[in-house]
Amino acid sequence: VARSQPVNVALLALLGLTAAGGTLRYAEDRAPAIVNPLFATSMSEARLDELVFEGLFADDTELKSTGRLVESFQLSDDQKSMTLRLRRGVTWHDGDPFDAEDVVFSVEAYRSAVTASSEAGRVSWIDTVTAQDPHTVRITFKKAEYAPQDKLHFKILPKHKFTSTGVKRTDPFRTAPLGTGPFSVKSFNDDSSITMVKHTGHWDPASLDEMVMRQVSDKNYQAKLLVYESLEALVSVLPRDLATLQNDRKIELYPYQTNSWWYFGFNLKSKTLSDARLRQAITMMVDVDALLAPIGTGDRVSGPFVPSSPFYNHDVPAVTFDPAAAADLLTKAGYTFNGKWLKPDGKELKIRVVAQSNLETAQDVVINIQSQLQSRGLTVEPVFLDGATWKEKVLGARDFDLMLSQWSFDRNEDIWEQFHTTGTRNFVSYSDKEVDQLLTAARDATDPQQKKATMRTVHQKIAEDHPMIFLWTLDSYAAMSVRVKSVVVHPFYFFTWAPDWTL
């Protein structure tokens, strides 16, 4: 990465041409539930991890892999192994030196069955990892790799802070995270904010002195805080607020690409909801445009990709709002209607819709769908859970009928973890043998056009199964004070190049 040269920055500061240091305060809808890359499942966690931890490689601003904790590497002729020379002089936030044992420990921790990391898939291609000396690591692969550095972006953890490679979610590390990244966690504050300070021992120190993450679940309030200069950055702006913010000359908008789409996921482990006809009927009872209206403009999606994706199958239409056809479908599936829909066994059809409690927009959408479905004879029970309970009940125990959530993907838009039978993020328990085969074929593809065609077929097959009510995608925007300079936003991890930002 062409980063600012420390000497030049110092010289410019001396001349008064740039203001080094300063505090950047940014808002998240919800604070990270955990600060441990082994268990990061939300974007707010991934963004914070980007400031605190580092991978062996990271994207440069042209999205090519460049060494972070690695100074150089050599790929073997058969492309089945590589030797990594680690960057010297790197220290953890507590001052301990980073070395090859940390890399070995991290890979083992990610793939430990005890850890059960949701990120385990990121090291599944690695066969062995060994420390040849404190600054040299050798990795062998399960098959030949053309550019293995592209897969070595996962965050490295400090071996000396753990007692075993089997790491539990409750490990004390979560409240005392320690990385090699440009910022270290200084404090978890009573108002759910997190204060981070510059890691002065970093090999390429950040310009900013401090970063503060503030949890502000009300989007209107977020915008006001930015306008009144109580924040310097919003990481996510709703479309409805774009017009207001772009008119403020003290604020600059930064579009970025997170490939995010909203959905209601059916719990396919439920015997009732395992019937695709019921799922399709419920989908047809929902006026998605009416759900979207309070949020602003967005594009409907008909499957698990955003419409600008190369994988999006434009021949698959979004399900049309058609309550009459939905009623016909339910009747054919053995359901009866007496003012309320009754299941074939005569019991009332009830749906429990789960969403996160600290997301204002999500609550609006759930209340809206409750109103819509109840007016069509379905009893809907909305349940709002805090972040920790959400992870436990929904992502862990799969205790829901319908869940409202939003997936964000990096530019690879790999939905394997969401829809493969064995996927670690397949929270709706979707399982289809043909889709499994297609997803594996796509993951192994070496021909880009074949992969594209395969994924378009996946889109079609998943849409036909209705495992989710696919809702919409919103353009992703950050908003920042114009006082923040040299801003380049990573399209997924957001803060990758924050060390270059100045105030």
């Binding site: 499942t41 939300s42 974007m43 991934a46 042209e62 090519k64 898939g121 990121r122 291609w125 098959k143 053309y146 592209d150 897969k151 479309p239 017009a243 772009q246 008119n247 600059e252 908008l253 930064y254 579009p255 690409q257 997170t258 490939n259 995010s260 403009t297 600008s308 994706s309 190369p310 939003q406 997936w407 964000s408 993907f409 990096d410 530019r411 690879n412 790999d414 939905i415 394997w416 973890e417 969401q418 043909e434 499994d436 085969q437 594996t440 074929a441 192994d444 070496t446 021909d447 880009p448 056009q449 074949q450 594209k452 065609a453 077929t457 353009d475 925007y477 114009v482 399209p491 997924f492």
Partner: protein, 498 residues
Amino acid sequence: LSNSLAPGRLLCWLLVSSCLWSGSEDAPADAALSETPDPAVLELGWFAEVGAYPTTFATLTEGSKAGWVALHANDYDTAIDAFASDPVGRGRASLALAVLYDDLSRYSGLANELFFSTWAARGTLPAGNEAPMVAALAAHCGEGETVGAWASKVTAGPDSPMAMTISQGRPPFDVESAGPFGRRMSLHHDARAAGDRAPLLAAAAEPVTTVTIAPTPAPGEDGKTDKAKAKAKAKAAEGEGEVQEELPPTDFVRKFWDPCIWRSLADISYDAAIRDASGGTSTPPSRSLEGERWRRLELLVAPDAPLSARLFAPWPTSADLAADLPKAESAGLLGARSPSLRRIGVGTGAFPADDPEAAKEEVRMLDAGLATIEKKVSDLGNADGLAVMNDLRLVHRFRQEWLAVRAREALTRRHPKRALAYLELARDHATASVGPENSPAIYALLAEARLALGRTREALDALHVLAAAHPEVLGLVEVTGDLAVLQGLDRQGDSKEE
């Protein structure tokens, strides 16, 4: 920028000239209506001209209402048709369309070169003449430097004479060959001779050629020998290993898209623009890139050029265009160095570096200058003129047109970061579509800047918006998508809950 466009008001202003006075209690005195325009006001730019003298605007739009509505909405196709009896308006719309297609032609060259060269570097470029033929044509039509390198990879076959021709720097449109590329270029030839875009627009929806690929992987392609696969299967059967999944038995169709569509569409549109804007004295259609024919815009730069010569244009006045016309490097850069803008401190500098902060500073200076002009127009006190200016967001329109030109200039200097800064400050983020708020050029240039910065997937976002208004970009969407997938083949995707 605070006023969103009200379509009802737009139609009112453009379709019913009597509305000019319906918005205010006190109609201006007749004396004001007949007032000779003050040259000092005209020098402020066409948006100020409309704000100060709305009757001029009303008279103009009364003549070709549908054309001006369409041009305001950046719908150039409709505008060209609607300006049937207005050669200046028609020339302006054709010129805007030509510049857009020129942008897309440049993009096509860049995207195809990146795609095929990246693929070739992996050593997995498909066998056959199709890939090098597309790459060579893309380089030729996009003014790239790799025509010869790609053309030399085309082996004997029906289209090899075409490869030979373009490797010698000659255009492919007149080559007779029986292959699929020859047939497509023959269509180009006929369309260019007739000055008719329609056949090319229809052809843009279809690939030049397709190849059906059976999915069966070659032995060992996945890094495992047949023996190793059998061993893994046996292990899986014993519950010791990962189940070896079989590939689904489906074919896929590889598509090769025409990379020269935009070159021909641009040339045809330039010819139409010159024919109209030069007063009908232009020579018959020919390749506009050759020579300086695009500078023949006499009707637009005449000292007494009407408002139609500059309304909604990136040049503030006809005098600015006259000054820029002999010096600009291409039609898409007209207006970049307008003298009236240089007086407010913008459009002056060369590009010393690809510095987005410098671009932002220039935009701040532009905004300050435009605010001063708005104040001057406001002080003139013509309420109806100000209403037109605000309702049609004319200052925003000029600002966006000029910043798009400046971004294009930055891209030609290979300063994509700077271009991106101009474009993000130019576009109306609250409206993610081509229309009155955002021109198609904004999205075409955004795609180019992002692609040049390695942001291939983000370039697709811009093309996706553009495709809604210009479905002929389908081939560009597909090749950009292929490139995005190719660049991610070695990556493991990440996903999180938002």
